[in-house]
Symmetry: D2
């Protein structure tokens, strides 16, 4: 998953605004779903929500940089999944985070449907 840094991603400090790396990681997760013709959630009814993020900001990116997001599954449980996502520019790691996603229906954690489990197993392929 390649992501170009555009003006809207940068701030007056001349670098990518810190929370944009978290957006980039969400794009990479969603792209896995979209590529299978699937939407990660069904409005407010059901879907994956972010429960926890533990993030390290290691280096900065600039306007015009071409970044890459790498995603691996750390744990796949009944109703949640822990992903490790990292953002690189060439061989330089700029950002890393562990993100916990919970599958919810009507606001409550529920067993992740089969079709999504197969999809997550593809992440590490």
């Amino acid at each position: 998953m390649k992501i170009r840094v555009y003006y809207e991603d940068t701030d007056a400090g001349g670098i990518v605004y810190h929370s944009r790396y978290i957006n980039f990681c969400e794009r990479a997760r969603s792209e896995h779903f979209f590529a299978q013709g699937v939407i990660p959630g069904d409005g407010e009814k059901s879907g994956f929500v972010v429960r926890n993020i533990t993030a390290e900001f290691l280096a900065t990116a600039k306007l015009g940089d071409m970044l890459e997001v790498k995603t691996v599954i750390k744990h796949l449980k009944n109703s949640s999944v822990v992903l490790r996502q990292e953002v690189f520019r060439d061989d330089t790691r700029l950002f890393g985070m562990d993100v916990v996603l919970v599958y919810i229906e009507e606001g409550k954690p529920r067993r992740i449907p089969e079709r999504f489990i197969a999809l997550f197993e593809n992440f590490n392929a």
Copy 2:
């Protein structure tokens, strides 16, 4: 309607990213509705959508600036309304736009409901 410029509003050029002024104007319109306990739209079913924007970018704003959005009604028609919105820093006009909003139901233009007409008439008060 006062709006502070934060990092997320600026870009690597050191100034407010151009389309953010259009967001600021949308905030000002929505605030009129929220202040009355009303939402400008009801999801995809009905509500106001932006049909046209004619915008002039006159001067730039910087991180930490305190801006003000001024809104007046230019025309109020059966199913649409034309607003003039301007963004100022003190006495300096930075941005101006005419925006045409259309009221739609199920994707089609419809007569603006009474409760919204009263609300728009408040804009110029």
Copy 3:
């Protein structure tokens, strides 16, 4: 220039937030520059700034849609350029705008440098 619609581009109305189309067009313009290893501006010192936008919102895009931005030069003048940019989903035109960019140095309009003129001429190729 292909652009995927991600969660961050959508709003509670279930569709792409109106000013995002203007961002998408800016990405397409910048990509032309980045692809040549050039940055459209040099911080606050010099570069292209948006002076006017005249935009029509014709149809809506949804989460996961794959969009395309098409850009053509309408007028190339001494210190400014008028572009026509349109956003499509397959054959459906969702958005169109004329945007006037002015080349500035130290805050004043200046003759567009040769290297940028050649680059703009590539837009229509």
Copy 4:
């Protein structure tokens, strides 16, 4: 620090996009600086950068909600500071994070200048 939820903060799930809470917290930190007529950083030369974030997403916010960000200092060290920031809607805690900010000059951690230490001490007042 009160923050209204506008359309641009929400996504197609009908709720506030997850990384926006991190933006809201940054606004609250910056507001402390702006209110003293100070900018948290001096472009790429010096200033505070986010090094780590540990965040919990506890409940969701919707369009039109009025939120409040509360910030306290957890640790103030030579070249870094740990803040606890939480976002509330009335008495409901929606979001919490510990954020580590490092003061850098020319890309290297440096002792936090006196004027900023005084400012941080105000956070808990």
